[in-house]
């Protein structure tokens, strides 16, 4: 087991900069998500850490040992592929045994280790099956067992749950997390699913156009995004553009929005504010504003989407559509077309430098 350090790694394919000076520290035993839209470089970064491809410049270290020029077969990593990549000509047990067998481990050791791995992923009795006789979730487990049975220093997962349906995906998220905790292995997984990143990982790195946009624990990134991209890619956010006032921003129409978290931007400079939809209180136009919620705007409900446990209101204000999510507490529901007051606290407002 070991941590992974990526320092100033760049990689270009022709004129396309897939990775541009990326530095990120994966602590020993942590569970990391690399999150980003397609083409953001997250898979390229994973392949550099795995050793399928070498960086043009920069350093990669596993357990303190420089590996940026070491080929994948010598890196002692475990990898789970998007489509599992199980060997179709081998049984489940032989698939799992492969890594031990190419190392020349004795047969008895292999059999015992394979059984342990099968038990760990709760597939104890399926060792004799062929991959095509398994369900998607079972294949996923076999791929995981095969990747960890060799006791790799780090476990890499490339969109591991992408091919599963929603219910199974949630099961596997819990399962994956349990197994990771049980063996305590440093785990890096690539995903474009923000919910998956939020629920599973200890830390998230958000990538965009080959650059690391922000890195930190899920709560920190969600509550204090440092860019509009981070704010809107991880969760939903209402973004206001204006000029910094020192304690918030002033919108072009003169309204001020107070913000007590986020960057410090010199007064007068361009800046924006991000507010999460669930932090905004919505009340009928006539209601008295809550004194704690200093930021107040008026608008009109243009649309309401009822989703059972909550409702999403779209509120039009000077051509901007704001999104507000209200928990279903049994309170009065607002009608489309109704004038409303939106209010929220400066604590829920994140100032972002332009």
């Amino acid at each position: 087991m070991a941590g992974v350090q990526v320092a100033n790694v760049s990689r270009s394919f022709g004129a396309h900069k897939a990775l541009d000076d990326v530095s990120i520290d994966f602590a020993d035993g942590g569970f990391y998500a690399l999150l980003g839209p397609s083409g953001s470089g997250k898979t390229t970064l994973l392949r550099q850490i795995a050793g399928f491809d070498f960086p043009d410049s920069g350093r990669i270290a596993i357990g303190g040992e420089s590996v940026e020029r070491v080929p994948v077969e010598k890196r002692r990593i475990g990898m789970v592929f998007q489509n599992y990549a199980l060997f179709p000509n081998m049984s489940v047990a032989d698939n799992i045994a492969f890594g031990l067998s190419v190392r020349g481990e004795p047969k008895a050791t292999i059999a015992a280790e394979v059984q342990r791995a099968l038990d760990l992923v709760q597939l104890g009795k399926l060792g004799g099956r062929k991959p095509h006789q398994l369900s998607g979730g079972q294949r996923q487990r076999v791929a995981l067992a095969r990747a960890i049975v060799t006791k790799p220093r780090v476990l890499l997962l490339d969109e591991p749950l992408g091919a599963l349906d929603k219910a199974l995906r949630v099961d596997m998220q819990i399962e994956l997390k349990r197994i990771q905790r049980e063996i305590g292995i440093t785990t890096i997984f690539v995903t474009h699913d923000q919910e998956e990143a939020l629920t599973m990982s200890d830390r998230i790195g958000i990538l965009r156009d080959g650059r690391l946009v922000q890195e930190g624990p899920p709560e920190e990134i969600y509550d204090r995004p440092q860019s509009e991209f981070a704010a809107t890619f991880l969760g939903d956010a209402n973004i206001f553009h204006g000029n910094a006032t020192g304690s918030g921003i002033r919108l072009p129409d003169g309204t001020t929005i107070a913000a007590s978290t986020g960057a410090s931007v010199p007064a007068g400079a361009k800046a924006s504010c991000a507010v999460r939809p669930e932090r905004i209180r919505i009340s009928p136009g006539a209601a008295k504003p809550d004194p704690a919620n200093v930021n107040t705007l008026t608008g009109q409900v243009s649309k309401r989407i009822f989703a059972g446990n909550n409702s999403t209101y779209f509120v039009d204000r000077f051509g901007q559509t704001l999104k507000v999510i209200v928990q279903n507490t049994g309170a009065e529901r607002l009608a489309e077309g109704q004038p409303v007051v939106l209010s929220w606290s400066p604590d829920s407002t994140v100032l972002i430098a332009a």
């Binding site: 077969e73 002692r76 990898m79 998007q82 990549a85 492969f98 190419v102 190392r103 095969r146 990747a147």
Partner: protein, 262 residues
């Protein structure tokens, strides 16, 4: 209902016709190899004389062994070289790869007569001349493109992540190839090998150009025998070859499902 039954019968009739078209000449030839009359006269009179006299025909037997030997060696060389070439074309990108791939196909379309002439001239030019070695080299050259085409087609269905997965588990290039890639392409390799065997064993034109009177293959020898005067021994040797090669094909088909295998 009536139309379905008629269509069904038409379908069966068609299949019988097709099989008859394919196999009737062969069956007649096989039957005649057991007929006493050397001039295909009926009524049919059972004999195995032609097989006994075939056994005495040293020239024909020698040519048969030459053919088998050349076909087996051609199969081995072209299957190994062709599979390796397919793997290289699949795995690596290099300068001139597209040109090389494009150049592999025309030899299949060039008439053998022309290929044979070209080889004869070339082998004389470089001092190899005619004979079994020349025939072998010629057959390997003819069979290689077939093997590469068939194995490459099979490789198209191979998922490159499988090799990556094997490498991530610590397998070196040799282990990746022998334990993951080869098992997957094996049906293609076998099929390519069968093609190579057939191309060599059936080869008349190129062999005819490159053989010398003492060193010849079965098709060339049969042709020479027919020119001298047909004997049912030819039927006998042909029947043996058909039985053996069909048995081989059926055996291979039994063990390897070509095409859509998982």
């Amino acid at each position: 209902m009536a139309t379905t039954r008629i269509l069904e019968w038409l379908g069966r009739f068609y299949i019988v016709l097709l099989l008859g078209f394919l196999y009737l000449p062969i069956i007649i030839m096989a039957a005649m190899s057991f007929n006493a009359s050397p001039f295909y006269q009926l009524p049919f009179e059972w004999t195995t004389d032609w097989y006994s006299s075939l056994w005495q025909n040293d020239q024909l037997i020698a040519a048969t062994w030459n053919s088998i030997e050349i076909a087996v060696i051609t199969t081995l060389i072209s299957t190994v070289l062709g599979s390796m070439a397919s793997l290289a074309l699949y795995r690596y990108d290099f300068r001139g790869k597209k040109v090389l791939q494009a150049l592999l196909f025309p030899p299949i379309a060039i008439p053998w007569l022309i290929t044979g002439t070209a080889m004869l001239i070339f082998f004389f030019g470089v001092g190899i001349g005619r004979g079994l070695v020349a025939i072998l080299l010629g057959h390997v050259a003819l069979a290689l493109p077939y093997v590469i085409v068939v194995v490459s087609a099979r490789l198209q269905t191979f998922a490159p992540e499988l090799e990556e997965a094997a490498r991530s588990l610590g397998a070196n290039q040799w282990q990746v190839t022998t334990r993951v890639t080869l098992p997957w392409i094996m049906p293609g390799v076998i099929a390519g090998g069968l093609f190579a065997f057939a191309v060599s064993f059936d080869q008349f034109v190129v062999s005819y150009f490159l053989s010398t009177p003492g060193q010849t293959t079965l098709p060339v020898e049969i042709y020479a025998a027919i020119r001298k005067g047909f004997t049912p021994e030819i039927n006998a040797v042909s029947t043996i070859i058909i039985v053996v090669s069909m048995a081989l094909m059926l055996l291979t088909a039994r063990f390897f499902k070509f095409g859509g295998e998982k």
